[in-house]
C-alpha cells in the first residue's frame, strides 16, 4: 500500500472528525503507521471542520498534508478550500446533496455521493459521514471495512447499539452506491 493522505472536511457537526478517526483506528488495527490531525476550536461551530489522516507502512514525519491522495468534502466551502490540496490523479469525494457545484479540477478522479440525502432517508442527518466513508472504502483499499467496524467503540465512545447499527447501515449504503 502506498501512503494514503486523506483530508476530510465539512460543517462542524457533520461527523468529519470521527470519520477521520475511524480511518486512523482502522489503520492502526491493520498495523499501519497513522496520524490524525484535526482542525479545532470555535471554527468547528458555524464554520468548517476538517482533519488530516495519514496511513503508511513507513513512520510518518509531518501529520500535515500538503498533497492529499484523497479529499472528502461534505459542503461547498470545503470543496473550494481543499480541492487544491489534491494531488494529480487523486480521489475527490463530494457530498452531492449539499454541493451542487462542480469541482474545478479535471486532473483528478471525482465522485459525487448524495450522502446527506441518503442519511436523511435513513432518518438521521448525522450519518452522512458514514455513507461517505462507505463510498470511500469501496473505491480504495485504504483500510478494510471490517477494521473500521472493529474501531467503532474507540471512535464513538458513548455510542449505543442502535446508533452503531445505523452507522453500519449507512456505511453499507455508501459502499453499495459504488459497487
Amino acid at each position: 500500500m502506498k501512503t494514503e493522505k486523506i483530508i476530510c472536511a465539512g460543517f462542524g457537526g457533520q461527523g468529519i472528525l470521527s470519520m477521520g478517526q475511524l480511518l486512523a483506528y482502522a489503520g492502526m488495527d491493520e498495523g499501519k503507521h497513522v496520524t490524525w490531525l484535526p482542525s479545532y476550536g470555535p471554527e468547528m461551530r458555524g464554520g468548517t471542520a476538517n482533519c488530516h489522516v495519514i496511513l503508511s507502512q513507513e513512520p510518518i514525519d509531518s501529520p500535515i498534508i500538503s498533497q492529499a491522495t484523497t479529499v472528502v468534502v461534505m459542503n461547498l466551502p470545503s470543496l473550494r478550500k481543499f480541492e487544491p490540496y489534491l494531488e494529480s490523479g487523486g480521489l475527490l469525494l463530494i457530498n452531492s446533496t449539499l454541493v451542487k457545484e462542480e469541482s474545478g479540477r479535471v486532473d483528478v478522479r471525482t465522485l459525487r455521493v448524495p450522502a446527506t440525502q441518503c442519511a436523511i432517508d435513513l432518518g438521521r442527518d448525522e450519518v452522512a459521514n458514514m455513507v461517505m466513508l462507505g463510498a470511500l472504502l469501496a473505491l480504495t483499499d485504504v483500510v478494510e471495512p471490517d477494521s473500521v467496524i472493529r474501531s467503532f467503540d474507540k471512535a464513538f465512545e458513548h455510542t449505543t447499539p442502535e446508533l452503531s447499527e445505523l452507522d453500519v447501515q449507512a456505511m453499507k449504503l455508501g459502499e453499495s452506491l459504488i459497487k
Partner: protein, 354 residues
C-alpha cells in the same frame, strides 16, 4: 502497555498520571483543554486531586502550594495563560519547589488564535518573571517523545528541585498518533527534607519563601540557584542529529515543525541536496554541544520555526559566528510545507539570500 492511538493532550495527561502525578491545577484554554478534561475525569479515579482554578494566576499559585507541600504536581496551559503564570513561576523557581508545566502553545501575540505556533520560545526560555532563574525545558516532536519526556520530567523536577517545562504546540496537543505509555515505578519518594508537611512535633518548623531582605542573602540564594543550573546545563543538553556528514547546510529546528523539516530534508535528498539537522530537544539548556558536530562541508545554518525567529538568538550564540545563520519561519498558525522549506534551502545554497 501496548501502543494506543491517543490525542496528544490526553496522552500527556495519562503519562503524567502513570508517572505518579497526583495533583493537578489548571484552567481551560484551547488547544490544551483536553488535557485538563482528561485529568478531571481520570485523576480522581486513582485517588488524585483535580482542581479547576479560577484563573491561570490561581492555578500556578496552587501548584506552588502543592509543590511546597511535597505533592507531585502539574499544570498545563497555552500561551496567554502561560503569560499569566510568569510571576508564580518566578516564585516557584526561587523557592526551589519541583513541578511540571506543559505549555501547548498557539498563535500570538495577544489573543491571536488557537492554531499551532512556536512564538512562545522567548517566554518559555527567557521567562517573563523577574530574576535570574531558569526552567529545564523540553520540546518534543512526536507523541511518543512527548509522553516519555513528560514522565521523565517528574523525576528531573524532583532531582533538581526545579520547574520542568514541556514546550509543545497545538499540533502535538491535538493530533493522534500511536503511543506506548509506560507504567513508571514511582516508589514513594524518600521523605522530602524540605517539604511543608506540618512538624507533628518531630522536627523544627520549615519555611519556604523567596524574600531575602538582605542583599547578601539574596545574592547567596541566587548563587545556589546558579550552581544548580550549571549542573543541569552540563547534564541535560539533549538533541537529535540527522544526516550531518557532508551536509551542505544544517537546519536547526525543534518541536512540531521539525517533522515537516524532516520531510523537506528527504525531498532534498531525493534531489541530491544534502541537508543536515540539529533538533534541540532541550531548549534550556540549549544544546550547544550539537553545534560542535557541524561538518566542515556546511555553508550555513538555517533556523526553521513557527515564529518570526526567536530561537535564532540561541542558534547565533551556539554557532559563535562561525557560520551564517539564516532563518525561515511562518507564524500565526500557518505551517510551511516541506516544499516551501526545500525551496528556501535551495535559495540559500544558490546564494540568493543571505
Amino acid at each position: 502497555m501496548a501502543k494506543v492511538l491517543m490525542k496528544g493532550n490526553e496522552a500527556i495527561a495519562l503519562a503524567a498520571i502513570k508517572a505518579g502525578c497526583r495533583y493537578y491545577f489548571g484552567y481551560p484554554i484551547t488547544p490544551q483543554t483536553e488535557l485538563l478534561e482528561y485529568m478531571a475525569s481520570e485523576l480522581p479515579k486513582v485517588g488524585g486531586v483535580f482542581v479547576q482554578a479560577e484563573s491561570e494566576v490561581a492555578a500556578i499559585n496552587m501548584v506552588y502550594g502543592a509543590a511546597a507541600a511535597g505533592g507531585r504536581v502539574m499544570t498545563t496551559t497555552s500561551s496567554p495563560g502561560y503569560a499569566l503564570m510568569q510571576e508564580g513561576i518566578s516564585y516557584i523557581a526561587a523557592a526551589e519547589t519541583p513541578c511540571v508545566i506543559v505549555n501547548i502553545s498557539r498563535g500570538g501575540p495577544g489573543l491571536g488564535n488557537i492554531q499551532p505556533a512556536q512564538s512562545d520560545y522567548f517566554q518559555n526560555t527567557r521567562g517573563g518573571g523577574s530574576g535570574d532563574y531558569r526552567l529545564l525545558i523540553f520540546a518534543p516532536a512526536s507523541l511518543q517523545e512527548t509522553v516519555d519526556l513528560v514522565q521523565e520530567s517528574f523525576t528531573l523536577a524532583q532531582k533538581y528541585r526545579m520547574v520542568v517545562l514541556i514546550s509543545a504546540d497545538g499540533m502535538l496537543g491535538q493530533m493522534m498518533e500511536p503511543v506506548d505509555i509506560k507504567e513508571v515505578d514511582s516508589p514513594e519518594d524518600e521523605e522530602k527534607q524540605w517539604a511543608l508537611t506540618a512538624t507533628e512535633g518531630k522536627r523544627p518548623p520549615r519555611a519556604i519563601y523567596s524574600l531575602y531582605l538582605d542583599p547578601v542573602e539574596l545574592e547567596k540564594a541566587n548563587e545556589r540557584l546558579q550552581a544548580n543550573y550549571e549542573k543541569v546545563s552540563k547534564l541535560e543538553e539533549r538533541y537529535e542529529l540527522l544526516q550531518m556528514d557532508d551536509a551542505q547546510l544544517v537546519i536547526v529546528t525543534y518541536g512540531s515543525v521539525s517533522r515537516i523539516v524532516k520531510s523537506a530534508i528527504s525531498l532534498l535528498a531525493g534531489e541530491g541536496i544534502k541537508v543536515g539537522l540539529i533538533r534541540p530537544i532541550s531548549l534550556w539548556p540549549f544544546p550547544k554541544k550539537a553545534f560542535e558536530q557541524i561538518p566542515d562541508s556546511a555553508k550555513g545554518l538555517l533556523t526553521v520555526e513557527l515564529s518570526r525567529g526567536q530561537m535564532v538568538d540561541d542558534v547565533r550564540i551556539a554557532a559563535k559566528g562561525a557560520l551564517p545563520v539564516h532563518f525561515y519561519g511562518r507564524c500565526g498558525g500557518m505551517i510551511p510545507s516541506p516544499r516551501e522549506i526545500a525551496d528556501e534551502v535551495k535559495r540559500i545554497l544558490r546564494g540568493d539570500k543571505s
